[in-house]
Symmetry: D2
Subunit: 430 residues, 4 copies
């Protein structure tokens, strides 16, 4: 990395500790995790939990790698800036089991942020504390099967006040983490005021304990052919689920606001973890094409000219994208999430597409092995592919970026008029 932006000695030390933990404890534990989970498709995958996860969590705590994520503007924070935490996210992203080991995995991080930012003292006590201790897990239920989720105003789930309770009814899918037996709480988005003339005041977010009556887990959704157990992406039904009125977060009609606030930092984290994935895929690529046993037509693959262009493309794309994400993080640190919104949108669009390209090249270099289970590449591809859709598809963010740019047109036109005025004067003197 360059000296382009400053990392404090404390964070440099954290990087080193985290990197050793991820490289020599988490990555070697992946095979254990896989084995303890059981056969893909079997029902027990959703019941028992790999003991290696708890072991790694204990290790992370003892190494001072626990709960690194919370931004510095919360009292519970370890005091890392978004930029600093972003750098650590890249390291955690390298292993699919590292973020949870450090209690830094989505959607818990975003949910903890919601509790920390908007929760009442009672809500914090009940949910934030055990979440931060890693004793329970959580899910955020927003996406619905029947409508275009890229537009949040389409939400069909209803949250109806009934005395001292709210009654929640709706169907959700792709609820990540809801498969985990430790998942104890859902943050559910629905409309309690569907006729409000302000489309962004119709939604609310409400807390629903996982053991509430009327909740039905319909099925796990698969990503390509992967089930992501025990975490999972569930389809689920909320059928007249009743919760006390105090479970409403922030107040009626504040749901859109909560979601917006939650997403900024989360997108940076996702992007930086994806960059970690890209780096690891590139390493597989490098190892494969320099493997002295894998010669084709008398040369290692790296000696075939095309591979140089693939490797260089991956390196250039990763480095460009990383700088953009870190810049967005730095802007968020300096000026707050709103000012960084456009830069975050760019990162959100660029990083997943870039990572997919890098992984795809690595897959191609592995031949049939690349699409199978002996290398993590196909699984990486599948998980990163969802990032082009989750939290708003590329298209929505791209349009936002364009709108931001188009806002400059009026000032540019005035600027041009001034230039043309000067030009006219100059030409007149000739």
């Amino acid at each position: 990395m360059s000296t382009f932006f400053a990392i404090s000695p404390r964070v440099e030390a954290l990087k080193k500790t985290l990197s050793d933990f991820v490289e020599f404890e988490c990555i070697p534990a992946e095979a254990v995790h896989h084995k303890q989970l059981g056969r893909e498709g079997s029902a027990e995958r959703w019941k028992s939990l790999p003991s290696v996860t708890e072991h790694l969590k204990t290790r992370a705590k003892s190494l001072g790698l626990w709960n690194l994520f919370l931004p510095s503007y919360y009292p519970e924070s370890p005091g890392l800036t978004n930029l600093e935490y972003g750098v650590l996210c890249e390291i955690m992203g390298r292993s699919p089991i590292a973020a949870e080991a450090c209690n830094c995995s989505a959607p818990d991080t975003g949910n903890m942020e919601v509790f920390a930012k908007y929760g009442t003292p009672a809500q914090k006590q009940k949910w934030l504390v055990p979440l931060m201790e890693g004793k329970i897990r959580s899910a955020f239920a927003m996406t619905e099967p029947a409508v275009a989720s890229s537009d949040a105003t389409n939400i069909e789930t209803r949250i109806v006040r009934d005395g001292n309770e709210y009654v929640v009814t709706g169907r959700k899918w792709w609820i990540s983490g809801a498969g985990d037996p430790r998942c104890a709480v859902y943050l559910v988005m629905g409309k309690n005021d569907p006729d409000n003339s302000n489309q962004h005041k119709q939604q609310s977010v409400i807390i629903i304990p996982a053991d509430a009556k009327g909740i039905k887990i319909v099925r796990p959704m698969t990503v390509f052919g992967y089930d992501d157990a025990p975490h999972g992406h569930m389809e689920m039904i909320f059928d007249n689920v009743r919760v006390p009125a105090e479970n409403m977060v922030l107040g009626d009609g504040r749901g859109f606001e909560i979601v917006q606030g939650r997403l900024g930092p989360g997108r940076i984290h996702h992007c930086m973890r994806a960059i970690g994935i890209a780096e690891r895929a590139l390493e597989y690529h490098l190892l494969r094409i320099t493997d002295p046993k894998r010669t084709a037509f008398g040369k290692t693959l790296s000696q075939h000219g095309k591979q140089s262009f693939d490797i260089a493309a991956s390196r250039m794309e990763i480095d460009q994208a990383r700088m953009l994400v870190l810049r967005a993080a730095a802007t968020m640190d300096a000026k707050g999430p709103k000012a960084a919104m456009n830069e975050i949108a760019m990162a959100k669009v660029i990083v997943p597409a870039m990572t997919l390209a890098v992984i795809d090249r690595a897959i191609q270099s592995h031949g049939a092995g690349g699409v199978g289970q002996d290398f993590p590449l196909a699984y990486m591809y599948a998980s990163v592919r969802t990032l082009r859709i989750a939290d708003g598809p590329d298209e929505v963010h791209t349009v936002q970026i364009a709108k931001h740019e188009l806002k400059r047109a009026t000032a540019l036109r005035a600027h041009e008029q001034k230039q043309l005025g000067n030009q006219k004067q100059m030409l007149a003197k000739l």
Copy 2:
């Protein structure tokens, strides 16, 4: 389709019958097939067979859609040209269960071609007849885990003569079809003369019955999480497997030749089926973005400008690629497989990449649904991704195309000299 190339009335009628069969019998049966196969990952998937497959096979026979594939230069052929059969392949490609229903699925088609082209009368009687009747299935065992398979000279499996027998020892993986309980025979590629100075005379192809001693199915390989049961892609060990000497195909050291001959038509079939997949993916794309219930920001997705460019790109890419494959088929018909080799290589490189792009756009238009199990898109993507690797990765074929082109340079240089001579004369006259 255009009137660019002629399709006979007989083949037009076949197209219609086949299309109706695929659209209204096979595609609706996909859900049945899925259900009959059992839960992804469960062991029974590899044991029982969906009865719907046998039902469809009976239907296809009664409709005259059985064994359409064999090229016209074989006596067993129904008399279709490669071009004609290619057009039908596109239709079969639209449903993952249609080709088998018509007994036209890989790797059986290629294997039947090997038996028909190179088999002794006894080999034909024993294996070709039941294959053509759809009573058994087969596999072709070539790829090995330990070496760069893009270079066939790397094969490590050994075929050693011992009296009236051959003894076969080696490890293979990605042996498609070997998971099927009906798979009765393997064509296995190995070296029986590893020290032959002619690198293309070292290999042989030998027939091994699936029930021979010493065969061990190690595990199913997965493609992006999918197991492709009951067909499957198996890792397997041949541990001192003994077969009678008459099981050698064509003769010692003819393996490379057999593989080359087998691949030409097969690549056309794969490409045309992929084009069928691309068309179906585009149809999902069109249906999704015109769905009146899926509005975002007050418009159907098709009314957002970006979608027009995605749809048009998919249409243009499909149409271009199809013409190229059909041209290759026509060249093969007119001049034989060798003359068509370069055109086939182009199709082999272009079609999978194109199809992946078309599917990916369709996935993106479906949001989270696109990567899950409710639409066939993610599965399509996974299966087509393997085509960029199978039968030689893109890179190998691309280099071949370039070599073919570079051969023109000498003649071009002479041509240019003649032009420059004329130019000199003309300038001299000025």
Copy 3:
């Protein structure tokens, strides 16, 4: 080329004659033409005409290569189908001076078609005859500087009836061919009924002799620094230009119709000539990288792996695009221009972009030479770049292709309903 589509022996013979003429007479004459034109930027370029052009025209006439373009549905036609003429266009496209030598160059071909299709006997006598004899040249004045020309309804030029005359007033630019001293006639598009509620009935096309009073050639426009003399792309003013009423083509308000009819075949011709350019660029590319004197790091450029991928990409892109254009031509032959509209639009979008990519790779292989005047590559790039804009920019055609595709959605939805009905029945039986 393949045997994919049939070329008659007569056209095969024409191809051979034309190819020899282009390769060994036109291409060697390019340097002569360049020299006779005079220094780039000098005023005399617009006055005198290279004598080599007249020499080549005489040769083409004597070889039977004159006026090949007119489609077979005109009495004046040499009887070639669009497909056949398309194949010849590719050959003519290889040299920038070949099409004019054969009297087959734009915009004359399109203008002759207008006269042939819509002209009165008197108009034909006066303009079509000398055009077909190559005695005069012509221009089509449509594009205007002040409005978005991609939308023809924006035209601001006015054609006002005044007694037995029309008075034409407007500013046009990029009027190709108007720089040529032999340019004797303009077909001018303007509005004579700007308030017609039917936006496509407001425009008319009128014949204006080049020597009419009130015409002012403002300046030549340059294309990436090239002036394209003597042909040129002129900015010009029609200032109250008066012509007799009989100069109106087809009748008041028929302008849109005329333009539409004119463009279909013309786009095919442009595309096939562009493919000829692409082939010639690829030949330069091949010659350069196999040049034994141009070694880098001890190898000819062709031995550097990357070049293989560039060469193969160019070959595949050209071959795909050619098939698409020829298919469009065949469709036009079989079913008329309207039925071929969508296929023509695809060709129009694909071919220029493809050709630019092929040329750009060739430029890159030539180092600094590639952008300079010693190779025709930079000039090729500049001229083909205009094709992504002329006759409607890519974007307009792409949207048309998408609209055509989206029209299928309703039928597809009915089709899907039938499939789902069958599926339901099948599942019910399980």
Copy 4:
């Protein structure tokens, strides 16, 4: 810009002054410059000099914007870091006449650096002083027409010692700046020891006054159709040109070293100026598509969905590329040019291709206007296209980047072994 990296208040002030100068003095003066130069192609373009240039130079001096370029490790430097100067280069890049106005234009900057770094006191007095005062200009003569210039060992120009003199003989082309009547000195690369077994010790760089006997300017090369007068890119012959022995720079055989040292910072400058070009092209794009007078089909172009994706793509690509260049500059500041070599190579590959894409989208939005002389876009395209070739083509740098990456493979393999060891231990405990 972000707060990602720190810019000192002094440099912020310089940015403001420079920006005002470029926007409101240089850009408006472009039309004057163009007019004073005379008609493209005319001979006088190479003789007289636009007075507006001298006027702007006086202005720049008075504003403290003179000679900003020299890196801080030279005594003559204004003390800007590479990062700081890079930021200013972007601003200067916005106008093609701004860099010269500030005496910061290539190839003078690189040549001044050579004199400052390697020159004797006498050489500095004679050439560096007037160059820094803007009284003369200079050229660097390296590229040759007959060989592959991407490999510097191919140089054919000879520098032969003869008593107290050197005799230089060779043919050069694309010698930028050699057309300028003020060009007083050439730095010429040639071989004085062509048989040295160390291929990088064969070359020398020697100083040749422009008025030396035996120099012949053959012709100006054009870039696409532009001549870039008065600067120009000349083909020239050195025919037994004699210079005193003290004109050798640094010593015999040091030429390769000089060239390497010269190029690092120069590439950063080129890249940052290109980013300035990209930003200005994007501004033209924005102005065009929001122009209320240029509606198509009832909307401004910006309301057509495709434009949003074009605009957003340009914005994202520019921002990514800029961060990469600035990172390379920061690395050069912190660790010297050698340590930054890989990052500079990435910038060199990425920025020109990115800028071309941005300009091309802007061209497309302008219709025919985009390729002509009324907007600077086509000229921008032509000049930036040369950057993919100059100072080594993309391919050479890409291979370097890949080599740098491939060097990691050995360490990665050891790292992987350690991971696999840990994994084995963990699995054994299960």
